[in-house]
């Protein structure tokens, strides 16, 4: 007989203070408290983190890879958003 899986959680870890939390993987747990404890054992056995987030995978809303082209297309022709777009004479400093 197949038991139902516990809910899936995604795990995010801040490796040291000053850095953002980063996705490291996922795990199953009965509840959020257990997810934190399992994340500690599975993902931080070598002091990989100082802080963790867990979030139910079902609560994450992701963009559709099939729509990636149209979704990100508007930024493609806006090179003027980058500083290198502007030609400034070499003699001008501090710009």
């Amino acid at each position: 007989m197949t038991e139902a899986d516990w809910p899936l959680f995604e795990v995010f870890i801040r490796s040291r203070s000053g850095l953002e939390h980063k996705h490291v993987g996922s795990l199953h747990a009965a509840d959020a408290r257990m997810a934190i404890e399992h994340a500690r054992d599975v993902y931080t056995r070598r002091q990989e983190g100082v802080s963790m987030w867990v979030v139910r995978s079902a609560d994450i809303i992701a963009s559709d890879p099939e729509e990636a082209d149209s979704l990100f297309e508007p930024a493609r022709d806006k090179v003027y958003r980058h500083p290198t777009f502007y030609a400034i004479p070499d003699e001008v400093k501090n710009l």
Binding site: W6, G25, S51, W53, D64
Partner: protein
């Protein structure tokens, strides 16, 4: 490594015409350009099934692999060795967890993989069906078995499937300590009393050939290799990796003053490789079929553990249900994530 390509003979699923040649060509183009494939991307069904099989076999191997070494935790010769062995076995459990998660991203539930393992339907690496008779076996496993695993797993860090590649990066970072602690056990024994040296030699005698078999059938007999290479799941053939392992390991055995149990082993000046004698593949296939020294014992141990843990899983589920009714869900923990969200 732990993936040996165990049950793929003649069963390699092929891309179907229905999936559209254009789509398949685009997919292969991404692979050829060394792009990673991610879970929500379109992929040929055969690619998905090949990965599910390989990653789940790999995960099962990590989990079953805890058993032969776990056998010596209570009998480790010193407190230091005991702490090290516990840490190593715990890492292997972690490796199993990373890999099950990676397989799940392909759409197979964890529970289904567990059923496949416990029913005996799933394969795991042949190496874990050999017994650990003496303390020296713990040294030999770390040195040879983890050594062979590293040889096989490093190229998997560049596997085309993102979640598998990322799991392998994490695993490879942890494997180095496994191999070094094993070699250190062998070194200590080989510098010890006559009986300790004999114990180290005996362990090498028993683990050498099974370790070579970990790389899977010879290239002539492994028909799936071509497709896996085209998909960049696999980067080197079984025989290539086996040869590399032999080349790096033989000098290590010499350093220990131990003898590799192969009368035909010799250095080939022309090719700059060690040449090993023939492998007894009948032993390999017998172990795969379930007739190794410990196949039954391993599965029974897993089943027993699963049954013994049932009440814990039920209690945890009941507790989670009750606290969900009593309080707003995930109070406290979600608060932390929520508050920090703005800063991320």
């Amino acid at each position: 490594m732990y993936t040996q390509g165990l049950d793929t003979h003649g069963k390699e699923p092929l891309p179907t015409a229905a999936e559209g040649e254009a789509r398949a060509a685009r997919f292969q183009g991404r692979i050829d350009a060394e792009e990673k494939i991610e879970p929500k991307d379109w992929m040929p069904e055969a690619y998905r099934q090949t990965l599910i099989r390989q990653i789940s076999q790999h995960a099962h191997s990590e989990i079953v692999g805890m058993l032969p070494e776990g056998n010596w935790i209570t009998r480790a010769p010193t407190l230091k060795r005991k702490a090290v062995l516990i840490a190593k076995v715990q890492d292997e459990g972690g490796h199993g967890m990373y890999l099950y998660s990676a397989a799940e991203t392909l759409g197979i539930p964890r529970a289904q993989m567990l059923v496949q393992l416990l029913s005996g339907a799933a394969k795991y690496s042949s190496i874990f069906n050999y017994p650990t008779l003496t303390w020296a076996d713990i040294g030999a496993i770390g040195w040879l078995v983890d050594g062979a695993a590293i040889m096989n797993q490093i190229p998997l860090c560049r596997c085309s499937y993102g979640p598998y590649a990322r799991a392998m990066v994490r695993i490879c970072k942890e494997e180095s300590f496994h191999q070094r602690q094993g070699f250190e056990i062998m070194l200590t024994l080989s510098q010890g009393s006559h009986a300790q040296r004999a114990m180290a030699q005996d362990a090498l005698n028993r683990w050498w050939w099974p370790s070579l078999m970990m790389f899977g059938p010879s290239d002539a007999d492994s028909m799936h290799t071509g497709q896996s290479m085209r998909w960049k799941i696999k980067r080197f053939s079984n025989d290539e990796l086996r040869q590399r392992f032999i080349d790096v390991t033989v000098p290590q055995a010499h350093f220990l003053g131990l003898t590799i149990p192969d009368d035909e082993l010799h250095w080939d000046e022309a090719t700059q490789h060690y040449r090993a004698g023939p492998i007894d593949w009948s032993e390999f296939y017998a172990v795969l079929k379930g007739n190794g020294p410990c196949n039954r014992e391993r599965l029974e141990a897993r089943r027993r553990a699963h049954e013994a843990g049932r009440w814990v899983r039920e209690a945890a589920a009941a507790h989670a249900q009750r606290s969900q009714r009593a309080a707003p869900p995930v109070a406290g923990v979600a608060g932390v994530a929520g508050a920090a969200g703005a800063a991320a």
